[in-house]
Each structure stands twice: as C-alpha cells, then as structure tokens.
Amino acid sequence: MTLTLRALLGATVSLTLAGAAMAETTITVATVNNGDMVRMQGLMDDFYAKHPDIKVEWVTLEENVLRQNVTTDIATGGGQYDVITIGTYEVPIWAKQGWLESLNDLPADYDIDDLLPAIRGGLTVDGNLYASPFYGESSFVNYRKDLAEKAGVTIPDAPTWDDIKAAAAAMTDTDAGIYGICLRGKAGWGENMAFLTTMANSYGARWFDENWVPQFDQPEWKAVMTDYVELLTKYGPPGASNNGYNENLTLSLQGKCAMRMDATVSAGSLTDPAQSEFADQVGFALAPDAGLGKRANWLWAWSLAIPASSDAKEASKAFVNWATNKDYIALVASKEGWRNAPPGTRTSLYSNAEYAALPFAKMTIDSINAADPTNPATKPVPYVGVQFVAIPEFAGLATSVGEIFSAALAGQKSVDDALAEAQALAVDEMTTSGYIK
C-alpha cells in the first residue's frame, strides 16, 4: 500500500469518526407567539454556542391551534414535537396520562429549588416535575395614579372589593372616555372564566363541591355575577362583553381604563414609555378580597415540557435547561434590560436588587405567592387549579359557561337565568362524564 493510499484511508476514517462525534441532533420546539418566546428565538446564538451539536426547528402557532396540534400529536404518540410549550392547566392532566417526560434529572445548575414554590407546585405531579416554567404570572390591579388622585380616592396595596367598587365609581368619567374598571368579558375558559373563577374564589364560591356537584345555584355565585355585571355595566367600557386580555390592555395603554384587573405579565408593557403615554402614572395593587381569606388572583405559567414520544430527549432536556435556567434570565437582562426578563419563575430574580427596584416586581411576587392551586377556594374542593379546574372536561364546559355569562353581561339574559342555565349545563356535563354518580 502506498503512502498516499494510507494517508487517504486514514483521513477518511478520521473524517468518518469526527462526523459521528459531531452528528447533529435536530429538535422541534412548538411554541406560542408572544414577546418572551420571540425574544428567546432571537437569543439562540447563545444556545448554539453552548450546544453546537443541537439544531432547533421552531413551530410557532397561535395558542389554541398549538393546543390542538400538540394534543393530537401527543395523544397519538406522534413524536412530531420534542419540546412543547404548555400551560399550567395541561400539565397535571397530561402527566397523569403518562404523556410527559419527568424533568427531575435536569443538571444541578438548573437549581430546581430556586423555582417559586407556587409555580413549581402547579407543575409537579406525584413529586415529579413535568414542565419547566418559562415565565409565570398571577393577576393584580393596575390603575392610573393621576386619576385616583384627581378623584380623591386611595387604592390600598391590598384592597377589598368594596374599595374597588368605590374607586371605579369615583374615577369613571364617561364624557372624557375614562372607564372606572376594565375586566375580561369575552367568552372563553381562559378569558372571562379565568377572571370570574378567581372572583368566585374570593367571594367564597366554588365550581364544584366535594362530590363534584356544580355550585352555580348557590348564593355566593349570585353575588359574584351580580357585582361583576353591575361593575362593568356602570363603570366599564362600552361593549365590555367583547373585551378580553388584549382589548383591555390596549385600553389601558391608551389611558382609558382607570383601573384594570388582569395578568401581572402586562406590567412590563404598562410601564414602558414606548408603549404607554401613562407609563409613569401606573400604580399596582393586589387583587381584591371580600374578607374571606382568598384574593381574586390567579396563577399561570407557560412552561416547556418534553413529550414522552420524543426521540431526542437528551437534546430536548439540554434546550429546556438552557431556556429556563437562571443564566437565561441573566442573558435577557444583559441584552434587553431587567424589565424584559421572563418573570414569575425563580426566587433569585426577586432577590436581585435591580429587578426588585422595578415598580411591579414586589406586587407580582406577592400576587404569585398569594395563589394556592391546591387550595383555591374558601370551601373544600375536589380539584386543583386556581382559575381553572384541572380536569379534561373543564375547557369545554367553562367556555360554554363563559358564553352564558358573557351574554348576561351583554344584557341578553338576567343573572338569575344565566346562573340557572350554567348550573343545568354543568350538572349535565358532570353527570355524562361520570363525576356525579
């Protein structure tokens, strides 16, 4: 064998081995289109620098389409997605079905004990973490301090519903296009029913009793719906039954909502001078209570999980670790400022002096800590979840109930009729599904 031939053979073998060592793993990440997720896609150079052997393909979809596609794939064991973005509602249901990979074995630098206990609790089933939070949120009150001052009202840091009603009445100035309060009215389990369920929690109401019997025929729900309809009819914007998160946020950015109760995650937009003319006038308060020990705030996290059907679990775990690690939060802060750091997931973020100085930081963490998914109502309940009930039937049922309540807000039916209709619908659904024997 000539020297040249030997050299060629040697080079071929070396190249083959090197190729095998550097074999690229491609993972498909399914995600929603929101600011934090878009930001993450823009920071992928950092991930590729740390993991040159992993290639990430993105599937970005609208929330409901994503839910439909991911559910179809995961239920049929399709294996089309390696990392999925899921909400707190799905995690316990899917984990019990065996559809998700446990994330207990993420590397030590992931620092699992740094996760906020309330958020971690919502993503843990039987002691196993099944999703890693990318950002978490609760809900609170945001209001215009200048309007409150002008109206001569003070909104306490921890208000009651009576405080909210009085402030809404005082700040409403319909002629000037200022509405005292903006609340979600658009029908949907993640829209008006997310808000109404938390309001119900604070009023002592609940979706079901210990035997899964619906409770819409109880006086607590009557009080919730009466006050909700009255608040929005008297002090809310016109067409409130069509307003969801986005519409009310837009009204708030334009300064037309004197007060609003919604997700803590919108605080970044509200206090950003580039987005709001009233950024320096925004005040925050905890969601109100009715003196019964529960506040009307929810708990939600968009999290990254790995389907059990993924055939690239190790690479997927490397990605989940990168995207939800403390280092990622620091990376965002270094590139785009602390205001844009993904909120509501880690204790260390709130002990950071720079982040804690932001006007919404303390109120956000206090709101998250005030939510208890395992004990959401003042009375005992058989379910987990603050603004939802973690059973598969809930999304469909709550959306139907949401349509009934939205119609009541629009004046198409009375509160009594709406509650009776919701009760009949819920009893029927729970009986058909086998919860009520």
Partner: protein
C-alpha cells in the same frame, strides 16, 4: 339584443357595483394598510384607516424571523401538485359521468359532494393517525394527496358540468374516425373543454393555497406552507397585529396577483354553460 340603459340607471348600477366591490375588498385593504403601521397605531382606538407613522419594519421583521421562501415553495408545490393530480383523476371520472352515465351517476355525484359537508375536525384523529403510520406526516406528497382528495369532489363536479355542454356527437364522430378512448379524451374532449379545465385549475389552486386546517394539522416544519406561516404570527395575547398583517399580505400576494391576471379566464370558465 342587449337592453339599453338610461345614463342615470347605468351610473347607479356602476356605483352599486363599486360599492359592493369595495365592501368585499375592504378587509384586504385594511390588512394591507395595517401591515405598514406601527404596532401601537395598528391597535389604536378608535381604529384609524390611515396613520402618520408608516413603516416597512413589519415586513423586515417578518422576513428576518421566518424562512418565507421555504413556506412559499411548499405552498406552490402543494397547490399545483394537488391540482394536477386531481385533474388526472377527475378528467376521466367526469368524462365517464358525462358521456356514459349509469343509473346511479347522479347519486354518486351527490355522495361525492356530501363529503364536503362533513366538518374536517370530525376526521382529524383518523386522518392524522393514517398519515403518521404511513410516514406522510409533514411531507409535501402527503399534503398533495390530502388536498387533492379534499378538492376532488369540486373538480369532478365542475368538469362534469363543462363536459355536459359538449355535444356527444362530436366525440362520437371522433370515434367513427378511429380515435381511441385515450385519443378521444386527450385530443378531442380536453381541447374543447380547455376554458373549463383552466378555470377549474385556477379555482383549485386558490382553494389549495388558502387551505388552513389540514395544512396546519398535518405539518410541523418541513412541509409547512404559507397558512402555517401566517399562523406563526397570530397571537391573541400580544400586540402583533401589524406583523400578522404583514405576514398575511406576504402570504396572499402571490395568489392575489395570479387571480388578478387570470380573472378573465376564471370568470369565463365559471360562467361556462350558465346561459344556453
């Protein structure tokens, strides 16, 4: 003989036609205008048709954030492929139904059309499983087959209507002159029905291009067409209406241009046989 219209009546008719056209086109116009606005202007309340701060940033960002050429090429392959495959099956089928009908031909046509009345979501899981097991999921050939099957009833119905207008005697004459079945369909029937075939083709391409259920359900990354491209910019919880509009404009522009240049052919084909 054409009916003569008074100038006043003619003006009223023209005005009405323009009004209706504007109402139909208004959402597209709104979308195109929004695509040149900033995100803040896009969600201004009350809504504004025009703004002072026009920008091209949305197009730049949409282009930078996604692989538009890949989505575009997938759309082209899927819509043209499904149309050609559909025609290959539908022309012989429509010929048989139009010229050698059986006792049950009408029932067969109605049955085919009835499949269009079923909500797609009802068969989502079975179709998904079939595609998964056969390796067709997230492939262009899979979508070509799916969209061809979806639009086949419409193609057959349209071609059947055109073929019925062609006198059977002409085909008979070609047979007497010694034309084979293949020759009869390819050299006699097809040239005569060309306007109808062309408009069927165009309509099917438009339907396949705009399809936004199966193209999203059956794809992830490799075969995703422009419908998935639009969906990736849809965000109910974010202020991205301007970017969504830019993505939508980029997705519909090719088919809008195709429709514009072929409108004469399209209208001619669609009204073919409407007046005897």
């Amino acid at each position: 003989m054409a009916r003569s219209l008074s100038p006043r009546r003619k003006m009223m008719m023209t005005l009405s036609a323009w009004t209706v056209a504007l109402i139909i086109f208004f959402p597209v116009l709104w979308m195109i205008l929004t695509s040149f606005k900033t995100e803040v202007s896009a969600v201004a309340s009350p809504p504004q048709l025009f703004t002072a701060d026009w920008t091209l940033d949305n197009y730049a960002e949409v282009w930078a954030r996604s692989d538009y050429p890949r989505f575009f090429w997938n759309s082209v392959v899927i819509s043209v492929g499904s149309t050609l495959l559909g025609l290959a099956i539908a022309i012989p089928a429509a010929w048989a139904m139009a010229f050698v009908p059986g006792k049950r031909t009408k029932d067969l046509l109605m049955w085919m059309l009835s499949t269009k009345m079923m909500p797609a979501v009802a068969v989502m899981i079975p179709i998904y499983l079939i595609f998964l097991r056969t390796g067709l999921i997230d492939t262009r050939i899979g979508l070509v087959i799916a969209l061809m099957l979806m639009n086949l009833p419409i193609i057959i119905w349209m071609l059947y209507t055109y073929f019925k207008e062609i006198p059977a005697e002409i085909l008979e004459a070609s047979r007497m002159d010694g034309a084979s079945l293949w020759g009869e369909i390819v050299y006699v029937l097809t040239p005569m029905a060309l306007p109808g075939i062309a408009s069927t083709c165009l309509l099917n391409i438009i339907l396949a291009w705009n399809e936004a259920f199966w193209t999203i359900v059956l794809t992830t990354t490799k075969a995703a067409p422009l419908s998935a491209f639009i969906a990736s910019f849809s965000a109910p919880q974010g202020l991205f209406y301007a970017k969504l509009s830019a993505a939508s404009a980029m997705a519909i522009m090719p088919i809008l241009i195709l429709g514009w240049f072929s409108q004469k052919q399209l209208v001619r084909g669609l009204t073919f046989g409407a007046v005897k």
